[in-house]
């Protein structure tokens, strides 16, 4: 059977406000349990929530970034259920009137295909605390530091048709929220978590199949793997004549499988109703417009600018604008090199390679964008060639100094003196008379291939310092005799 996969994603992004969504307690990862709490986060009797205006501002920023309708009146609602790490017995969220309404995102896959993913809504809600099941001798510990931490839940339409699209979409959201500075994007610490709603239907069928929801997947790689695994499971089940049960599942990265958590029958009736402790949030057009005017350049805008201003390819422009830090690095280096193509190639090539290899984030790279730019300038002005530059870059990464210091110290300056190159070539020709004769006797087509041998000899003799751009024409001329 030829299946079409239908995916909708719910992404929880933790906002980078200083204090919690409804209390003045600090937000932070890794503090001693229950030290970052107030009466409100502990759900003490008589404690009342006070809405954090900074979270509102961040949500509106996001709404603008995805071209969404902004909820001019948004309403907090209570989602009621009992759980020990949910201190009030309800989560304050938004239901019928979210702060961000319908919007969309355009994503581009590696093969260049683009698609538009609809975003149903994004709403503000508070996080729950954490239950700690280890270290308490059969009891459960409760840590309420995370309680009432602000989340923006971004809900997509079921517009995603593959694992690759899903990952591209999540990466795009990741890049937007980090560009806006409203989320630190740290998936390992849970700052961004993803619920995957997935169903299959025979290709061509209008009606959706029964879906399952995979909860709390927290890396790009796991999202991709969880989707592949779940597609396979659903397809196998359907092809064996079984049916899909609507349920919540968990992805286990170690076994690379999803397993049932709870079925719809066990699902809570959350009894949503407007929270009477909080007034509806009324926005003025002025406020909404003011936030729009302070929005930073977004990844898609940056990518477009990179193409028009620097004549970069769409792919290069997308890669370079995928994170704000990478784009900033590129642009800082470019301001020194004034050569977009060279800078783009080096950022995406050598720099990315070392970052990956050493598992370093670009903002922590040991070579600054300025120092990196200086290195590329030395390629441009023929002080060193590209091959030498890679060695210099590695030395810079290892902390041996600036490009110029390393070139100087190691004597890597390119030989650009025509006379010196000519005499070097003459020496090679004299030592290889047989090859010279063969060359001269050969057809022009063959000569082109044979010249490589001489170039190699020259580079070897010069210890890589001869400027290849100069060596080639001089060599060709001298070989003619």
């Amino acid at each position: 059977m030829n299946w079409e996969v239908v995916i909708g994603l719910e992404i929880h992004t933790q906002l980078t406000t200083k204090s919690k969504l409804f209390s003045g307690a600090a937000v932070g990862f890794g503090a001693e349990p229950n030290t970052q709490t107030t009466l409100v986060d502990l759900g003490m009797p008589g404690a009342l929530p006070v809405f954090n205006k900074e979270a509102l501002r961040m949500a509106v920023m996001f709404g603008h970034a995805i071209n969404a309708e902004i909820g001019m009146t948004s309403v907090f609602a209570r989602k009621n259920y009992f759980y020990p790490d949910l201190p009030k017995g309800y989560q304050t969220s938004q239901m019928d009137h979210p702060i961000v309404g319908k919007g969309h995102l355009d994503i581009t896959l590696e093969d260049g295909t683009t698609s538009r993913i609809g975003i149903t809504r994004a709403h503000l809600e508070e996080d729950a605390g954490k239950s700690l099941h280890e270290d308490f001798q059969g009891m459960t510990g409760i840590d309420l530091n995370r309680s009432s931490t602000p989340l923006l839940e971004i809900v997509s339409e079921p517009d995603i048709r593959s694992a690759k699209e899903a990952v591209a979409y999540v990466k795009m959201i990741h890049s937007i929220v980090t560009y806006l500075g409203i989320c630190d994007g740290n998936m390992a610490e849970g700052s961004m978590r993803c619920d995957i709603n997935l169903s299959l239907r025979p290709k061509g069928q209008e009606e959706y199949g029964t879906r399952t929801e995979i909860k709390n997947v927290n890396s790009f790689r796991f999202i991709e793997k969880a989707i592949y695994t779940e597609i396979e499971r659903q397809a196998d089940t359907l092809e064996d004549g079984g049916r899909i049960i609507q349920e919540t599942r968990l992805y286990d990265p170690e076994k690379n499988e999803t397993r049932s958590m709870r079925s719809k029958e066990d699902a809570n009736d959350y009894r949503y109703f407007p929270c009477p402790d909080l007034l509806p949030v009324e926005l003025t057009q002025e406020y909404v417009d003011e936030i729009k005017s302070t929005l930073p350049e977004l990844p898609s805008q940056k990518a477009t600018r990179f193409q028009t201003e620097f004549q970069l390819s769409e792919y290069d422009a997308n890669v370079l604008s995928s994170s704000r830090e990478l784009a900033d690095y590129f642009e800082s280096a470019l301001s020194i090199t004034k050569d977009a193509k060279l800078t783009a190639n080096w950022v995406m090539g050598e720099l990315s390679k070392l970052l990956n290899q050493e598992q370093v984030e670009i903002q922590d790279a040991p070579v600054s964008a300025a120092a990196f730019g200086e290195l590329l300038v030395r390629i441009k002005d023929n002080t060193i060639n590209g091959k030498t530059a890679k060695d210099v870059f590695q030395a810079m990464w290892d902390g041996e100094g600036s490009a110029d210091e390393i070139i100087d110290k190691k004597g890597l300056k390119q030989v650009t003196d025509t006379g010196a190159i000519e005499s070097m070539i003459q020496g090679i020709l004299d030592a290889n008379t047989q090859q010279v004769e063969q060359y001269r006797a050969a057809e022009p087509d063959k000569q082109k291939k044979m010249i490589g041998f001489f170039v190699g000899q020259v580079m070897k003799a010069s210890q890589g310092k001869a400027n290849p751009a100069m060596v080639n024409p001089i060599l060709a001329k001298m070989l003619k005799g």
Binding site: G46, L48, R271
Partner: protein
């Protein structure tokens, strides 16, 4: 001394005719002597009261402190008081000593008042008779076979019996006004948002409002002056400026337009109460007011609307009492579900459990539109009724309750009859307007309260009207014989 008002006591304190410590000792003795008959206090905080009194004396000595400085008052036991047991009338909070202070009690403390203790109440403020308390029923000092009303029954009984000069109460559907009426004292439910709810244990958040209870409107004004005002810790508290409640008491009533809603005088109202209310209205006419009939056509719908909205909110508000972090927890729970179920079954009384179930049902999937949403629509209609009536008149008057205080136990098996007790008070909470109960006479020896309802933030006006009435009548000065019998 117990029958004196705040102004007079404040003067004596300032003139050193008496100290706050002496005054406090006097009330503590009255509580020890009389409260065993009434059960109006859950906690008497004797030591703390004497310390506060000593501090108040020092404050007065230095020429500081408001009119409340050194005055012994009581707090309904749903205001969280730092370091003092706060039970909300429930077994669930039998061991709950808050590490924080409610805004209301904190402000009253700042004003220099002395807290004698915490008064009894219907559990979680759910009730109209004060019979739903884990700490036992409260008795009406006018006749100890009868109820004091509820849910602020402890505060009302304590004031009527002279066991406190004034007290705080809260009113979600009549819980200040109805006990004030039953016990022959004065009580004010302010506009929703006038008084901060921070630290007030929530029953129904969109309806709950704290307010003053005392013998007279003047004393209520003193207390409200300290309680009222915006609080950044309560998002629903209003930024509308407070008024000079005491300074406005003496404005003349000439030209006052009083509306009498015909629906308040229909079937179910004891005719003797109707006569008492009409006699009071005559008194206002004599003071220069004019009277006209108005209509509040959706009055009857206030009961079903209230009994959907309030339990719905309560079912959610009371979820935090789960045995995890504070309050009662059952012994030896088998597992999490067992802990939840037994903790809540043991900790909550029957009426509270009933309302949690009603509210849970009303909010359930498939019922929400038919119950909760519909109730909210009715609420809007009721609000519009008041807005419309109050565009024709300055205030609306009527009875507080259809009967005087009834016998303990007489309605406990008839919940509908009990809920009907609230018919004249509920709609005020649904609309969010302020209203008072003012002593207006007696029927068969039991007090009757006149209800005065006003427009949003018209507290100063209501207190002024009540005060002028009390300058010309002495119903509020009557004391039950048990109060005299010490």
């Amino acid at each position: 001394m117990f029958e004196q008002n705040i102004s007079s006591l404040a003067k004596q304190l300032r003139d050193k005719d008496i100290s706050s410590v002496e005054l406090t000792q006097y009330f503590l003795k009255r509580i020890a002597d009389l409260d065993p008959q009434l059960n109006s206090y859950i906690t008497v905080s004797e030591q703390q009261a004497l310390q506060q009194a000593a501090a108040a004396d020092a404050l007065i000595q230095s020429g500081q402190g408001s009119s409340l400085a050194g005055i012994p008052i009581a707090h309904k036991d749903l205001f969280c008081t730092q370091g003092t047991l706060t039970t909300c009338g429930s077994k669930m909070l039998n061991n709950f000593i808050p590490p924080y202070e409610s805004t209301v009690t904190s402000r009253i403390q700042q004003a220099g008042a002395v807290m004698l203790g915490k008064t009894n109440m219907d559990e979680f403020a759910m009730g109209s008779s004060n019979e739903n308390s884990f700490y036992g029923a409260v008795k009406n000092p006018w006749n100890t076979d009868t109820v004091p009303g509820g849910s602020s029954g402890g505060s009302a009984a304590a004031i009527a019996a002279g066991l406190a000069i004034a007290a705080t109460g809260t009113d979600t559907g009549g819980s200040i006004r109805q006990p004030a009426s039953f016990c022959g004292i004065t009580g004010l439910k302010p506009t929703y948002g006038r008084v901060s709810r921070f630290g007030m244990i929530a029953y129904a958040s969109s309806l709950d409002q704290g307010g003053p209870m005392a013998k007279s409107a003047e004393d209520c004004a003193h207390l409200l002056q300290a309680m009222a005002g915006f609080d950044e810790k309560d998002s629903t508290s209003s930024e509308t400026a407070t008024e000079d409640y005491i300074g406005n008491l003496n404005a003349p009533l000439t030209g006052l337009k009083i509306g009498l809603p015909k629906e308040y005088f229909g079937d179910g109202l004891d005719p003797k109460i109707a006569d008492t209310i009409m006699a009071a209205v005559k008194e206002f006419e004599a003071l220069g007011a004019t009277v006209k009939e108005v209509s509040l056509p959706n009055l009857k719908l206030s009961i079903p609307s209230y009994y959907v909205i309030a339990p719905s909110e309560a079912s959610s508000n009371l979820s935090r009492f789960d045995g995890v972090r504070f309050g009662h927890r059952c012994d030896d729970p088998k597992d999490l579900l067992d802990m939840y179920m037994r903790t809540r079954a043991e900790g909550f009384g029957e009426e509270v459990q009933k309302r949690i179930m009603v509210g849970t049902y009303a909010l359930s999937e498939g019922y929400y539109d038919a119950y909760y949403l519909k109730a909210q629509k009715i609420r809007r209609l009721i609000k519009d009724d008041f807005t419309s009536a109050l565009s024709e008149v300055d205030v609306i008057m009527g009875p507080v309750a259809p009967t005087t205080a009834f016998n303990i136990g007489s309605k406990t098996n008839d919940p509908v009859a009990m809920y009907l007790e609230d018919i004249y008070t509920l709609s005020v909470n649904l609309a969010g307007i302020p209203a008072m109960s003012v002593p207006a006479g007696f029927v068969d020896g039991m007090p009757v309260g006149l209800q005065i309802m006003g427009n949003y933030f018209a507290e100063a006006k209501l207190l002024n009207i009540a005060h002028q009435y009390q300058q010309n009548t002495d119903w509020h000065l009557q004391s039950p014989s048990m109060a005299e019998g010490v």
